[in-house]
Assembly symmetry: D2
Homo-oligomer: 175 residues x 4
Amino acid sequence: MNIEPPDPSLATRIIVTGGTFDKHYDAIKGELTFKNSHLPAILEQSRVTIPIAIEINQLIDSLHMLDEHRDRVLTSCRNAPEKCIVVIHGTDTMAQTAQVVGQAGLDKTIVFTGAMIPYSVQGSDALFNLGFALATAQSMAPNTYVAMNGRVFTWDQVRKNKTDGVFEAPQLNVT
Amino acid sequence: MNIEPPDPSLATRIIVTGGTFDKHYDAIKGELTFKNSHLPAILEQSRVTIPIAIEINQLIDSLHMLDEHRDRVLTSCRNAPEKCIVVIHGTDTMAQTAQVVGQAGLDKTIVFTGAMIPYSVQGSDALFNLGFALATAQSMAPNTYVAMNGRVFTWDQVRKNKTDGVFEAPQLNVT
Amino acid sequence: MNIEPPDPSLATRIIVTGGTFDKHYDAIKGELTFKNSHLPAILEQSRVTIPIAIEINQLIDSLHMLDEHRDRVLTSCRNAPEKCIVVIHGTDTMAQTAQVVGQAGLDKTIVFTGAMIPYSVQGSDALFNLGFALATAQSMAPNTYVAMNGRVFTWDQVRKNKTDGVFEAPQLNVT
Amino acid sequence: MNIEPPDPSLATRIIVTGGTFDKHYDAIKGELTFKNSHLPAILEQSRVTIPIAIEINQLIDSLHMLDEHRDRVLTSCRNAPEKCIVVIHGTDTMAQTAQVVGQAGLDKTIVFTGAMIPYSVQGSDALFNLGFALATAQSMAPNTYVAMNGRVFTWDQVRKNKTDGVFEAPQLNVT
């Protein structure tokens, strides 16, 4: 009996755009900023054995994202050879970028996630969210999703509640 | 526009059985042992908003599990009102207990997970695995699975490679 | 043979003024800010058995300190019944406040310390610095000191090198 | 005005012997064990700028120490060119080894410390104790001490209370 390698269809691309998830404390400046992505260290910690490609798309705060920044995410999703994609994104405008990508209707399972507390800070939700997003990317039908707070939202049914710091689905008024 | 509450079908039960995931350092004894489950703290850290029921089934090392311990897990899975179940289990005999539960053929999505490094120790994979397992429980068809190393295995196609400390699918020889 | 209680002369007051040491990540605002002091939790973690009084004097960034804020620290040092005092302070103007307190020439051992990385962030120097400062407060002759980077500086022979993020003693030119 | 380098008399040797302080979680064996010392990483985290020599004397559990192991610590203390020495030691027999070294009456300040919870486990006292011990080694008169629980004990007036997990001074009965 030999060992079967992981199914190649599970190969996943993680597209890193910055956001709280990846912030790093700069001891000289005394503030949280971007330096390098924590993704390679996080994946090692997660003991993942499926093939993962990490792509540093940009490292910015999502409040500073312009249309061109969101287009860059869409282009990466379009060009990715993988069928499973996780996008690490700031939470403040995650829903907007997910909308840009979702409207393109790519035949891939694209899952946006991020963190409310940086990976490098005590009590971070980053590792949980990454695990949640990776499983979602492997198991859901092709579409674009936001995976936060232990829930999966489709791109056109999600917004961030900035008061409570949670993602929620707006309810359509049915008449 | 009102806020839609999470879909009640996402309600998930987490059945805790102990294992490395939940070990705690006892400063007096100088060893890793079981005291209370870390699950309530972990879920708070994960910022999960779906309804979760936590059930402390047992708190033991999976190497010490006898048939009666595995049966207790099966009974809990059978009795759970939820359709989505995550079982936190020691890695050493996770595949065996998954087999006991899987053979029962319950109409629920039951996902076993655990950790190679305890939640309370630097570099733990516990948070990642919990996130991965929760998403799997929500999105996969009813069956029993093992979710470790960023992969989902069905209960009859998984074993732990104790040399490398990873889960893998044994390959059937086809003649 | 009975147990001798700790020498009452070791009783120590920790005066908290804020600074990087005590910053806390606010997930809603998405920034490091002040909420409560981490000192009670840190002392529990440190397993200290000597009597410690914690005084929250203020919780501000030391770059925002005015003369009145430094005077408030001096007043607390003067009024403290203890002979051993540790002041938790932001690093940016720690040397200035130490100078204000040092010039008062109180008959107490007063030790300023802080952190370059907050207690709540990975890789923090806060716990090390607190231990270093507490021992200095117990063992050095009455005077005012800055204890950072594993070194003890007297209040009139210390400055922060903001380029390298370390404390150093300016060298007097001898002619 | 130039920068004065640290006083060379502050040069400190850290003699590592193992103990809880330096234990590491082995994910394959599923237990806390010794691999490499964490001291180099800890000193970097502590941002120490004084000259420190790290000597890996042995890496064992102090319950397994025999006379020859304690003699090896004494020999290292005797041979050290530095006047300030910190010995990282398991807590269970720290008092015994301190007695062996203390009776030798070396003209150095030798400070034993350790941890009740390993550096690599949440809630560790290791960083605090190291800072406390380093300051004690720099500031106290030559002798051998145990520095734990935020207190300094001389080598002939200390024991570990194994029930409470704290160090204390036995009280001499005066008649």
